[in-house]
Symmetry: D2
Subunit: 346 residues, 4 copies
């Protein structure tokens, strides 16, 4: 079969690889129907993720059709259309029993990382019963690809951890795909104000269409002052960090109101300075989280019922075989005005 293979920093190829087969009795082999590229894949291509080694098939998102399962898999059979979770969960370790699938003892984020991933014609999915979901009848499968990673990430790490409530003022720092996923799902809880902060006016305009009530361009370094002015000096109830650098975490520290929350979503490569000399008495909470995808069943229901329309995040479409070009486009997101790309198999 063909697959997108990592060959060290900066090197990738769409090349022939052996078709995967079932290894453990709880595996499924799935034929990929649709996949996408994640910001994390770009990090991998830069060499920032040392667990990914030469020869690895990338990708941890997708929708497909079950090709093969054996007896221990009881929830799926060949021919079933399935949504693949970016997180593999065995459903039985201590972490999974607590709903913290991201720290599964036999899973977690392994697809396209320590085992081969979904940017390929076929993929092997371990612990299939607890790591895949049935595609609801009639669902838009392009929209569902957004549920492999990006929507649960914005929702769980940003919105749920931030405890967004009706009437709240929420700021989201970073209007990339994950920040916009937080924007879409924050609206589940009817906040009064949704302030979007980004450097890129195009992305801010997208945010406005997706529900942001206030836009702040932070290119002048004055985002904190602007957000404080918008909130009458009180600050925000919830600040969602969706970038992953010290400067954006700093904005969050500066704008969170007493009693508020900072929900970190961004993947950080460096430490940040936490201003406890001010914040010790500010009654705040700060959370971190690798997405657990524990809310996927709920997100599926909101998509089916029309409360959530994640296809709004899709800006580009390619054939799966054009994935090399898709990487180029997604890798120049600002210039290409790209959010999420869809790769469709033929």
């Amino acid at each position: 079969m063909k697959a997108l293979v990592y060959h060290g920093p900066g090197k990738r190829a769409w090349e022939e690889k052996p078709k995967p087969a079932i290894v453990d009795s709880t595996d499924a082999v799935v034929k990929i129907a649709r996949s996408t590229i994640c910001g994390t894949d770009l990090h991998i291509m830069k060499g920032d993720v040392p667990t990914v080694t030469d020869g690895r098939i990338l990708g941890h998102e997708g929708v497909g059709v079950v090709e093969a399962v054996v007896k221990a898999v009881t929830s799926f059979k060949p021919g079933d259309r399935v949504l693949l979770s970016c997180i593999t969960s065995d459903g039985k370790c201590d972490a999974c029993k607590k709903g913290m699938y991201s720290h599964c003892e036999r899973g977690g984020w392994i697809l396209g990382n320590t085992i081969d991933g979904t940017q390929a014609e076929f993929v092997r999915i371990p612990h299939a019963d607890t790591s895949m979901y049935h595609v609801p009848r009639g669902a838009d499968e392009e929209a569902l690809v957004m549920l492999s990673d990006i929507l649960p990430t914005g929702f769980e790490c940003g919105v749920l951890n931030g405890k967004v409530k009706p009437g709240d003022t929420v700021a989201i720092i970073g209007a990339g795909p994950v920040g916009l996923a937080a924007l879409l799902t924050a609206q589940f809880f009817s906040p009064a104000e949704l302030v979007m902060v980004d450097l890129d006016d195009n992305r801010l305009e997208v945010a406005r269409k997706l529900g942001a009530t206030k836009l702040v361009n932070s290119a002048d370094g004055k985002a904190p002052e602007k957000v404080m002015a918008l909130t009458g000096g009180k600050g925000v109830d919830v600040a969602i960090e969706a970038v992953g650098i010290p400067a954006t975490f700093d904005i969050c520290q500066s704008i969170v109101a007493a009693g508020g929350a900072i929900a970190n979503v961004g993947v950080h490569g460096k430490s940040v300075e936490l201003h406890l000399e001010k914040l010790w008495a500010h009654n705040i909470g700060i959370t971190t989280r690798l997405v657990d995808t524990v809310t996927t069943p709920m997100l599926l229901r909101t998509v089916v019922s029309g409360k959530l329309r994640p296809a709004q995040l899709i800006t580009h479409r390619f054939k799966l075989s054009e994935i090399m070009k898709a990487y180029d486009t997604f890798g120049n997101a600002a210039r290409e005005k790209a959010l999420k790309v869809i790769l469709t198999s033929e």
Copy 2:
């Protein structure tokens, strides 16, 4: 001044009464700008509420202007426009410290019950600092009258107690004003399905306009079967009882899914049969509550931000001096297609 006065079952008059004065240092005297009539007022008129005695001015809802306060009231001054809460809270007893204002040791539901109420030109409000709210600049005051009682009742007793969550299936039994208030505020949490159950097709149509996704006319006694069919035999996550009779509570018992909740909002005059022989193993919760109005500040923010539009519940408007006629209309709600009436002073 003029006021609507109760003179025993079936007898009411719009008559002259002394203008109220400040009694305690925490009182305010408020000139009524807008008021309304509650289903509870009709119960009082039937003689069902023994704490209400001959000579009492009725009414526990309204918006007005502060006429007088003395020094211990620090949050309000004469001229301030205020929303009056149906629940009086002293802000300092054990119940109030827990947010259970309904059981305030020196308050609770007393307006238009054990002290004179708001269907008058003026009203005395005890514990003014903790029982009134500033009208936000530019707010629609007719809409705010809905926040005195009906919106927090539907929201706190129905939606919050029922723990409505994104993706849930919610049934509301009773499409009267309080059931519709639950319908409006349930949407804060983005349930997948909102099933409205009522005997009256007109009210069901109103419910559809206000956001119900499924309508069930229960006149044939088959509401449970219909709701179970709509939910694929699973039942609903949340059943909100907004009528107050055994038959409607029974519907709730029949349709609640394992792990679900029954949130009682209705005012009951009789006991009900609770089927513990079935429900003991069904992992459900049942809640009861007299509204606390603890969410009024939050509801105000959602009205100001446009997330909640309670004016949709208003069907009729009268001058305050026409209140006798307004009672007649509201007392024939089905025939008059009346939900909430607004009474405006001149």
Copy 3:
């Protein structure tokens, strides 16, 4: 092998049955080391549980040694000492993902009910990875038998559902084994008062030794008045129903304070009268639950750390082969002053 077999109401025998074998790839076969008899087994013997049919091996509690597993079971191997849960969980259905194992689509309470149980020399355990627990090194295995059912039942259905908090006043109605399990585990949360209500002075004395701070003998029908007097007329924050008849549920309704909770633990055979005409405005919660055993890992930690000493509930010990005599003793609990009996294999 030998097993205790149900042959219709009132008929049981310790007789030869085929040794169980692995049927599904997720099964384990376990050699029973210790078991016990549950109040539910007595209900079955009366013919009250129609799902139990002639020929069924009873029992849903026990500790044993893994005899055989096949490849899909990854957490256990032959020779492992294991605690058996009364609830079978597949770990992957919607109910299990929510932690509601009691309503597992392929499990729930099936042991000694719809499949053969643990009052035998060997038992087949379906979904072994998610329905058994490793016995911690050095643990008292007699104590652990209490964790198969009775301790999680008292804790989850009574204490957790009742939301017992530090400083609370808690009443437990029924000082049988499950009520005493609630008494032991309520102390995890340091309530100020633990009032035990029962008809039997011997059981009340046991309750005092296990931590009850007040005892109420309800034989005179005056339990509500006595409890109200003990609480200065306020009632209790949490009332735990651990009997399962209308009279004891009534006591709970009479004594629950405004804002309080009634947590039903008892298995009810009849409906009860719920006094909504009083309780609608009382801001209470009522919960029902079949035990999920979702807290078993946590209870194991509290036993190992010495915070919970469930062996205090054991009053009698028999050889497994003496189980017919053990049933006679346990069936005359009041006369024999029996709480829990331990059956040990030779």
Copy 4:
């Protein structure tokens, strides 16, 4: 009257000051019966708290007798024995309605800070109804002095914010009075292990007597390694920071398990380095809080019921008039083996 007066860094005097009088209608004047000295008072004496100015009477803890109130105070009358809260709450601002008294718009920590405090013969208490508590009949008043600040601080900022649960492993960094208050109150929730970390073997021994199950002397800089070894490499569920310097916050970051919590209690004078490059995927929460004293009524119940015995923290007793000597002793806590001192008026 006599009072302990701050006269700039390092300068204090027990000197004559005017007896306070009622200023606002919600004030009380209280005759001090017992007071104490807080670590914060030592910070003030170093000049670290710029809001405290020359001439200020220090102290924010104490028990006393109401000397005078006027009409707007309805819960207290002259002669009542009262516990004074370190936090003044008006009971009516947005913050107080949310239970965040520490950020009260007209109060917060003002006693012995921006208004005169409790280390005096008399003190004026603003917002008396919501800032004082009745001393329960027969209560040990020395023990209650611990409830003015230190117990709610350890409990709210450490134990409640850390969400300590039965079976948890909890580490407390810092065995000073506040860390020990966290130790005492963590036991309300029956954690399996309570690891105490400090530099001082004497304080660690005290911790053992008060319930710590493991002791770690951190003088060698190896606390993280030791705690990880004690937890089998998993880390702790809850890490409570009760010192207030970067080094102790660092220990917390190093030992918190995936899914765990860091609850900051310490007063920090500098920022800390937060290792988001590791923690972003670790699913943790970090909280900060100035004590709200919202749990004081509950703590009072646990003291009366004997579940909490805060008098164990008292090591020294002085007459109020000996307060200059008491400061010397408390200021040399390690050498004097001092935890809390009690000052009693004559």
